[in-house]
């Protein structure tokens, strides 16, 4: 129950912050990316301020062995920079620039009655499902066949 309350409050604060900084407006985001046109540096300050809080906060709480409401922390442990990371980030960036939306602001903007926001969120969910249902099984099949070939050769 405490976990759910904390999650809801974090989501509320996150969404309120996105809306206050106007990140829910794709024109604002696209103008940040438009360095050689109508450049609007606001997004850099949004990210800078958010990072100032997270960087100091994560450092200050680094000695904690467990979070307040759950038995353990859960964070990505990988440190290697591989091709899927960079290709995935590159594809994400193209979509981000094309629409001016990334997942957080798009979900927050569902509060507004705008068709394109709903279309975008549905397409994001389909993209996630495509990775899960098509890409992951394809790669798994490919790796299995490859390792079988190695064994027989």
């Amino acid at each position: 129950m405490k976990t759910l309350g904390a999650s809801l409050f974090a989501g509320l604060l996150f969404g309120a912050g996105l809306a206050l900084s106007q990140m829910t407006n794709p024109a604002k985001v696209q103008n940040f990316l438009d360095l050689f046109g109508t450049w609007d540096p606001s997004l850099a300050l949004v990210m800078g301020a958010a990072l100032a809080v997270t960087a100091t906060g994560f450092k200050a709480t680094a000695r904690r062995t467990a979070p307040l409401c759950e038995p353990a922390f859960s964070a990505p442990a990988r440190r290697d920079i591989d091709a899927p990371l960079l290709v995935g980030a590159a594809l994400f960036g193209v979509g981000w620039g094309l629409a001016g939306f990334c997942p957080g602001p798009a979900v927050a903007a569902l509060s507004l009655n705008v068709l394109q926001v709903r279309l975008f969120v549905v397409a994001v969910l389909l993209g996630i499902a495509a990775h899960r249902w098509i890409y992951t099984p394809f790669i798994a099949m490919h790796t299995k066949r490859h390792s079988r070939r190695l064994r027989s050769g």
Binding site: L4, A6, L8, L12, L13, F14, A16, G17, L18, A19, L20, S21, Q30, L33, F36, G37, D40, S42, V46, M47, A49, L51, V53, T54, A55, G57, P67, S74, P76, R78, R79, P84, L85, V87, L91, F92, G93, V94, G95, G97, L98, A99, C102, P103, G104, V107, A108, A109, L110, L119, F120, A123, V124, L126, G127, I128, A130, H131, R132, Y135
Partner: protein, 146 residues
Amino acid sequence: MTAFTPWSALLGGAMIGTAALLLWVAIGRIAGVSGILAGALFPPGAGGASERSWRAVFLLGLPLGALLTGWAQGGLEIAVSTEPIGIIVAGLLVGFGTQLGSGCTSGHGVCGIGRGSKRSIAATLTFMTTGALTVYLVRHLLGGGS
């Protein structure tokens, strides 16, 4: 054209950072929205219901929070210049790309870099670059949008 809004950007950004820090300290999770969306859709491990529920309420909080800001300010501005077909293509790229690349602006840009992750720094530089190139292509070479 949108006006540079330094004060609301700094305050909003600090709220986003505080929310991410709160999620970490309270429940030990990274506030990466693409990962939370994927985990709500396909809950990881055997945790089933509880793995889905914290994600669902966090996601519900996002539009509710935006609604609160909208009420306080007397409305939110939103200007979408991309055609519906472009929006769909963009959404598919964002959905697939964030899964392949393990994160988006919040997970890599706000949390990952904040944790000093080299993977997140590399990912953020990459999506900033391809994002800027895409806007340049669409606005200045193809002449669409505004």
